[in-house]
């Protein structure tokens, strides 16, 4: 066995087997069939096929790159072919076994249709096709490995461009078709009824690949030119960029249409909650798994105060009701913080979990049904008005959400850089020492709960305006978990990280609705991969980033240092 391990082929075999198992998994959970229905390029390639191709190419590439340490073209090619062939070979095995034994009793997706898809329509007689196809993919990947770096990069960028354009083709087509004239023409040219047209795919490939190539070549010189500009001009440039960004944000919903605007509003609402939890958890280190409670309290308050339906009590305008909702969420924060003040760490997570569930069960209970509507919720919540303008749909609520998120992010930044932010972080780091330095733990912790609750409350108020009705089931535990997850994915304690995390965890899954039941499978895989590859988050806080950076410089600094001390001693 050890002899075997020393062979250079060993790695290729291992990678090939792993790739094969992934392929088998993709096939047997039915992803090939489901994703086979959505074309990336019309009648040329479907998403299911892309998944299989990527697995084969990936296995070949990994194996080839490993073999390529001492550059030897032949080993590289052989490694790629072996890994790719094995990956495909497992599928051949599946087809062969599947044609003899009925696997459907266990694997419901192991159907003749799957075998046909894998053998390009040849059925059991074409069992060799995945094997040869896999080997060919491995060969392609290995050849790709031998290309110069720059070429490789632009090819990858081009392919990613095509893939993204294909994935979002439905959305992009609708956006382009909304306006007649050249825009609709362009839409018909680029997009077919399902996926891209061949010409569109080529265009996207050239565009994405070419642009990336241009950028990689000119990036350094552009940077240099900007730094060489005088300070005054650099300032104007910054303001110009900021102005451009603001204009883009302002006209965005008109371009994107209602669906994307709605997604952005949801992202904004979750960003608001994330910013709130970022204060309690990210800064002060107080775990909170019941965060949805503040969201619910504010949403119900706004619902009750504004609704023109059966449960409405005041018929206020949204603008009058929202501050009350936020205030009540804030008070709830204090009320909820008091009993858990002395609890630390993991225990706090469980205690807060209970709080979130209590609020959800209360608003859904029969006991409070006469006032809160029980599981039928509160209906007929009117939209907010600005003067004579009704914020009727997501394209208008969008402005409310974006403004709210920007405002709260600003407040969060100010708080972070203040005496209070430092006190929160000190409590997160070492509660006892913080207290010994004169920080009043009760006050500071309660303030963290209150402000966190207020931020989430604003999210709830906007949610009530967006949906126009509130039900207990939208206040479930999953919301709290999502908020914690987006904080971790974005980078704990980082304010831009919250926004990035909200886009990644709330925005993307909404856009990938066509994946339906596989959405959360992919979501889970992405979360695990993310935690393995980048545990500090997508946009870590400045201190953490600085530390990652100093670690690098430390290494380069200590290496010559330590080597010079050796002869000295």
């Amino acid at each position: 066995m050890n002899e075997l391990r020393r062979l250079p082929v060993w790695h290729s075999v291992r990678i090939g087997l792993i790739g094969g198992v992934i392929m088998l998994y993709i096939c047997l959970v039915g992803m090939v069939e489901v994703f086979g229905r959505s074309d990336i390029i019309e009648r040329v390639i479907s998403l299911g096929q892309v998944l299989l191709l990527l697995t084969g190419l990936g296995a070949g590439y990994l194996a080839a790159r490993r073999a390529g340490e001492p550059t030897n073209a032949l080993t590289v090619l052989i490694s790629g072919v072996v890994a790719g062939g094995l990956t495909g070979g497992l599928l051949t095995g599946l087809v062969v076994i599947g044609s003899v034994v009925n696997l459907r009793a266990v694997f419901i997706n192991a159907s003749p249709a799957l075998y046909n898809a894998l053998t390009l329509g040849a059925g059991p007689n074409g069992a060799w096709i995945p094997l040869v196809g896999g080997a060919a993919l491995g060969l392609v990947a290995a050849l790709f490995c031998l290309l110069p770096r720059r070429v490789r990069q632009s090819i990858v960028n081009g392919l990613v461009g095509v893939l993204l354009a294909g994935l979002f083709s439905g959305l992009l087509r609708v956006i382009l078709a909304a306006r007649p004239g050249w825009s609709a023409e362009l839409g018909r040219f680029l997009f077919a009824s399902e996926g891209l047209t061949l010409a569109g795919a080529l265009l996207f490939f050239i565009l994405a690949g070419g642009l990336a190539l241009l950028w990689s070549q000119s990036q350094a010189t552009v940077r240099e030119r900007i730094t060489r500009l005088p300070e005054a001009q650099r300032k104007t440039l910054r303001w110009a960029m900021l102005g451009l960004a603001v204009i883009l944000i302002l006209i965005f919903p008109q371009i994107s249409g209602a669906f994307i605007a709605q997604v952005i509003v949801l992202v904004g609402i979750f960003a608001l909650m994330g910013l709130g939890l970022n204060i309690t958890l990210g800064m002060a280190g107080l775990f909170d798994l019941g965060f949805v409670a503040f969201f619910a309290i504010s949403a119900y308050t706004v619902g009750l105060l504004t609704s023109t339906g059966e449960h409405g009590i005041a018929q206020w305008s949204w603008w009058a009701a929202a501050p009350v909702g936020v205030l009540l969420a804030m008070i709830a924060g204090a009320f909820f913080g008091l009993p858990v003040l002395g609890i630390r760490g993991d225990y706090l997570a469980i205690a807060t979990l209970g709080f979130g569930e209590i609020v959800r069960l209360l608003v859904g209970s029969d006991f409070l049904r006469p006032w809160l509507g029980g599981s039928f919720g509160i209906l007929a919540i009117p939209k907010p008005w600005i003067g004579n303008l009704e914020l009727a749909g997501p394209q208008q609520i969008y402005y409310l959400a974006v403004f709210g998120a920007v405002l709260v992010a600003f407040v969060a930044v100010r708080l972070r850089d203040s005496r209070l932010g430092r006190a929160w972080m000190a409590i997160r780091e070492d509660e006892d020492v913080a207290e010994a330095l004169g920080i009043n733990l009760v006050q500071t912790k309660l303030l963290a709960y209150m402000l966190g609750g207020a931020f989430a409350g604003l999210g709830g108020a906007i949610f009530a305006a967006l949906v126009g009705s509130i039900f207990p089931h939208s206040m479930n535990l999953l919301v709290s978990v999502n908020v914690v997850a987006l904080l971790i994915v974005g980078g704990m304690g980082s304010i831009p990280g919250v926004i990035v995390g909200a886009f990644a965890l709330i925005g993307l899954p909404e856009l990938f609705r066509e994946f339906d039941e596989y959405r959360y499978l992919l979501y889970g895989i992405a979360l695990i991969a993310m935690m393995l590859a980048k545990p500090e988050g997508l946009w870590p806080s400045a201190a953490i980033r600085r530390e990652l950076h100093t670690d690098e410089t430390d290494e380069t600094e200590t290496n010559p240092g330590s080597s010079s001390t050796v002869p000295a001693s």
Partner: protein, 277 residues
Amino acid sequence: MAILTAKKVTKRFGGLVAVNALDFTLEKQTIASIIGPNGAGKTTFFNCITGFNQADEGEIIFDGVPIHRLRPDKISHLGISRTYQNIRLFPNMTALENILVGLHAHLHATWIGAVVRTPATRAEEEHAHEEARRLLRFVGLQGKGDVLARNLPYGDQRRLEIARALANKPKLLLLDEPTAGMNPTESEAMVAFIRRLRDELGITILLIEHHMRVVMSISERITVLDYGEKIAEGTPREIQTNPRVIEAYLGRGSAADIPEQAVRPSVSTLPASSAAG
């Protein structure tokens, strides 16, 4: 005049009496040490002063105010700061931020003031940053303000911890083994630094220390604890010749055999090493 007076302070943990009816007085602007074998109750006594532990019996009076029933943050506001035996910085905050937290008690910005950034808040923040940078320079950490505390070398961490304690503008500074893990040269520097604190800032200093050389060279008064009880008190010279101290350190019976040699070497080497350093 006494700045700190402890009367019959007792602290029990279950059946264990960590500090037993301890009477203790500390004069203003002195440097005093508490010594004793491991488990003698030195750190527990520190914890009673700073409010980490509440004394079960007795009272502690600081600057005329009884503090034995106060919370740690209140005690800190009165002007007592401390460092810890195993350094307890805020590891994921920068050196500057650590000191800024130390300044917390002297800042008054409310959260609304921080959000709106009123002129008062802004002036206060600027002043705090200036003060923090001054303290960094004072302990010799200039230019390291942006380094995360956990990435600082050990000696720097000790000094940062003292800077953080000084930020509170304390009248009384408690140092728990300030030279632990230091080599003789570093300890010498630390001793000189502690003297500077007293001479330049007029701070009263109480330290727990195991390095006899440091204790004997720096202290004006020494208190010896054993099993939670005070067994001796006096000047370094008196302590060195006290038979009960020698017995506590070296075991019963040894006092008769080696009364002076046991402690003398550590004292006699001191002038030589300080001259070398």
